[in-house]
Symmetry: C2
Subunit: 129 residues, 2 copies
DNA sequence: GCTTGACCTTCCCCTAACTGGAGGCCCCAA
DNA sequence: TTGGGGCCTCCAGTTAGGGGAAGGTCAAGC
């Protein structure tokens, strides 16, 4: 398979696939003409990566997950720990965003949003509360 | 005031303050010795920026918010619109993160997390569901 | 056989919002 | 005068790729 086929089948942009090779996540063979030459196993890895990334794992997380995936003697506890750490980061981000959302929502509700210059949002940002 | 004082009083790192000058958000005077020389108005602006950034506004949003703040004839509607757009981006991010969290939570619950290699998390990532 | 267009290659710059560090001035106190 | 801290500029790195240029390759159509 050429990169275009793999891109279509994995749903990942060709650029991303090249990037993943660059950073050593995949190691496709090369044809005589220099084209990358992917086999099913590569496609499978890319799909794995795509799903892990969609769950918000960082590239380095993905690297570890792949290593664990390929290690037949792994302990599922290691995977779970990785996932739990990631989960906790996500929870933190959600909490941060929710705090922003709540503050903003309140400010927005206080703002008339008309043609007059008086604006509680700016007032709050300027510290004159 | 030197940058160290402003940093302390605004809570922003000196690096960040220099960066904000670099991109034109603030324009402190200079002393004879080349040091940045801040007045209260600069400090006020930096505090404004710090609060806007803490609410998740991008630098470009901040630039517009500052312009609106300094425009006595602004319409509060413009500010509100900016805030609403930002709010909607935040809601989207929260929703995305919650989807990840839910999926991850489920996977984590299914994983024994012991010394055995069998792991539903990896199984899911590999597509063998 | 030649051309054309799609596909592939590498290489380099760009993103956001800083952060870290190197190398070098400046200032104040002991 | 020396030392330590503060300040300066400039450069590079961070995430996870995206955009695009310049050029090689391949298969179809004439």
């Amino acid at each position: 398979m050429n990169i275009g086929d793999v891109s279509t089948r994995s749903g990942l942009p060709a650029k991303t696939i090249r990037y993943y090779e660059d950073i050593g996540l995949i190691k496709p063979q090369r044809s005589e003409n220099g084209y990358r030459c992917f086999v099913e196993a590569d496609l499978h890895k890319l799909a794995f990566l795509g799903r892990a990334r969609a769950l918000g794992f960082t590239i380095e997380d993905c690297r570890m997950l792949m290593a664990l995936y390929e290690d037949e003697s792994r302990a599922s506890g290691d995977v779970k720990q990785l996932a739990l750490e990631h989960l906790s980061k996500i929870e933190t981000k959600i909490a941060d965003l929710e705090a922003m959302r709540d503050t903003l929502t309140e400010l927005v509700h206080c703002c008339a949003g008309d043609n007059r210059p008086d604006c509680p949002i700016l007032k709050d940002l300027s510290g004159k509360v």
